[in-house]
Subunit: 143 residues, 4 copies
């Protein structure tokens, strides 16, 4: 049930970010979710796009350092306590969350949160046992 | 035009995350945007909520280390190139982006991206000159 | 063979760093190794001191958020290739390094490097099989 | 008074670290100081070496993403309170420390700490006014 994320290294945060997003825009690739983590000297841009292959090809052609990572996109009931229930299931199974960010496309009455786990199979099993619903690759990628 | 963000220190990533989100859910506080950055030993949860004062009070009562930070939420035309235009304006003004993440509530035809800047007044001036529209505190906080 | 490290959360990097180091200096606690990792809004100070218990007590009394973590201090022959050999042994055993920094006290002809591993027992076994020598807690703590 | 540091991007932490250190060892380049910061998906290796030009050339030839950054190496009296005095001077001048780590070569009775500052000229002025002594590039680079 994993969804593909691109992790892109930014040597120069502001200029690098503009360049990467511009490369993707010129190819007509849509951004579905994004997050920028920073260290003092570098940045990491994490993206979910509607055409991962096309984005990777365009980025490599432009000389960017990018790689694909598997993440899990979980639908979270959009009410107070919705996310608390998901996190309680992960804690009960002693699952470590590496990082997480919101996926800004609503799917019906649910919000979607993207998780990166140390141990993705165990996390997916725990979430499934708790009745969680997942966004699938086909919900994210263009057909 | 800044929006208030809470930065919350997580001593134990998975358990700490579940505890913080649970504290807020019990008070009926809604999460508007969230992102978790991680170091190897700790995590930082960044949240935008609909009741910042109430969330801070609840978190301090629960013993969490939280503080408020000003961020800028920018509406981005929801089409390829929408974000590229915003980033080009920031680059032209030599504005440094510390970090950024998506705000998962659509406002009409626009997506919203949250930015943390080194120099917020200069960033806001550059964005305004480029015709950007901002989400205001009143769009985020409950009335 | 683990050595104890203190991980201390810095809400305000510069002021917080000065406060923490001052608290320890007033108690006569010696710093053996240190490193400061940073995120945009917070910092993490990692310390090895000669009196871990005393440092923890002093920090908690001063209201700091600190916790103990186990790290491994490895003697590295102080010549080109010395560290390469240690890292080759870790790579051959598929051991993940979470972070690492130098320990600035020489022990004879060797330099000392501090490692934080995901899986410390596996890392120690791999290093021992490769003939590595470890700094022990008794080499670091005051008697 | 700045000293040159190399910041090297590690796409794969353990393997990448071993490769980089091996490339330098084969050229006979000595490591004077090192630190590895980590994000969940990538790492950043910070090095001070005795031949910065040679190291950069070797790394680029090997396909690594590396760049040079200016840092300040300050001698710190090697007794409790030595570092506290240096940090108090920085705090009094409202200087922000981006990150810091120990330089593992003693120079007489002093330890040496490497600082990365936002505003290096202001930091150097404040340290100089407080009587700090600096390690110079000629103390680090081979003649």
């Amino acid at each position: 049930v994993g969804v593909e994320q691109l992790s892109i290294f930014l040597e120069n945060k502001s200029g690098g970010l503009a360049d990467v997003i511009d490369v993707l825009a010129r190819r007509g690739i849509n951004l579905r979710a994004l997050s920028v983590a920073d260290e003092a000297d570098f940045g990491i841009l994490r993206l979910i796009v509607d055409d991962t292959e096309g984005a990777l090809a365009a980025l490599k052609e432009a000389g960017a350092v990018a790689r694909r990572t598997s993440v899990v996109a979980v639908e979270v009931p959009d009410r107070p306590g919705g996310l608390a229930g998901v996190l309680a299931a992960l804690r009960a199974a002693a699952i470590n969350v590496e990082y997480m960010y919101a996926f800004p496309v609503k799917s019906g009455e649910a919000a979607v949160v993207v998780f990166r786990f140390d141990d993705e199979p165990a996390a997916v099993a725990a979430l499934r046992a708790a009745g969680a619903r997942f966004l699938e690759a086909r919900d994210v990628q263009r057909s």
